[in-house]
Symmetry: C2
Subunit: 173 residues, 2 copies
DNA sequence: GGTGAAATTACAGCTTC
DNA sequence: GAAGCTGTAATTTCACC
């Protein structure tokens, strides 16, 4: 069970800036936050150790990689038992088309975010990797018109209102 | 319209390694790929200029930030017209609970990935930010049991099979 | 692809509250 | 004593050849 970590305003400011651009240098962070670069280094190292920061990821454009069509697949697995879902999960995660994968409550057991070349490629994926599997009872395909990234992830505030956004929390493009 | 970019095996190898850890140094990349560090620098710079690499993102643990409950909200907006969806999209993107946001085909117009503190917080979010809006006709809430990240994003292969994974494409935990 | 300068990062010891 | 600052060494980045 991962427990919530106590974060002071300096930590939060650093996290907000790094979420905007994970390659911000400690010097720049320091100038913005108003502490020494080494302090920023210490803070970031602690945030890593405490598990708040899990890592750094590259953000790629699927379209430029020849995967210009994205979709969400809602999948019902029957029977919904461990022996069957283990191999299913492993297989779906390993697909080169899979971007993200969720196990959910509700009528659909899984949601898979996929990126494919075109509708033909999507059809192949659905038929060959989903509906052809014995444990897959149903697949519903929803194309993605557009997707957005949202603002930085911050701890909730006590009153349930937006946290103060410091130096401008404007979600990227 | 973003067009697919031609990538050679060196580019693909670099992209695979950087997707595993975006902070890999050019020296390490060079050693793995078998080219000079300066060549890696050139390649990465080109991948940035060509739009394949959009940026670097921090991967955070929502639970450690006090947002231990995640859910997907399927939202139907009626009438589904530009005048109404503009403000809706802006508002939902700006919510501190929103992590990702999709405009979809199918019976549900939008899917919102949210991270909240607990069920009470989720209830507040759904009631105050979704069902209370006049243009929101229906919201379906699906809790997330578990989620996975998938393997590195690579261009599709001609035959629709998995691309060669070089030095071990094992998706992270 | 290699080299060298500049910048960044890591890490020590010292200071402060 | 925990947290932050300053200085220095090691590493990384990057412009130029």
């Amino acid at each position: 069970m991962s427990e919530s970590v106590a974060l002071d305003p300096v930590d939060l400011h650093i996290l907000r800036l790094l979420q905007n651009d994970a390659r911000t240098t400690y010097r720049e962070l320091a100038a913005e936050v108003g502490v020494a670069p080494s302090t920023c280094l210490d803070r970031v190292a602690r945030l890593r150790r405490s598990g708040v920061i899990l890592g750094h990821r590259l953000r790629l454009d699927p379209a430029r990689l020849g995967r210009g069509l994205e979709a969400l697949l809602l999948v019902q697995v029957r029977p919904h038992r461990r022996e069957l879902i283990g191999p299913f999960v492993d297989r779906i995660r390993a697909l080169p088309e899979s971007r993200a994968f969720f196990h959910l409550t509700g009528p659909d057991d899984y949601l898979v975010h996929v990126a494919v070349a075109d509708p033909t490629d999507l059809q192949r994926l659905v038929l060959d990797e989903f509906t052809s599997r014995r444990e897959v009872a149903r697949v519903e395909t929803r194309l993605i018109f557009q997707q957005w990234e949202c603002g930085p992830l911050m701890p909730p505030t006590a009153d349930g209102r937006n946290p103060a956004t410091g130096s401008g929390t404007r979600p990227g493009s």
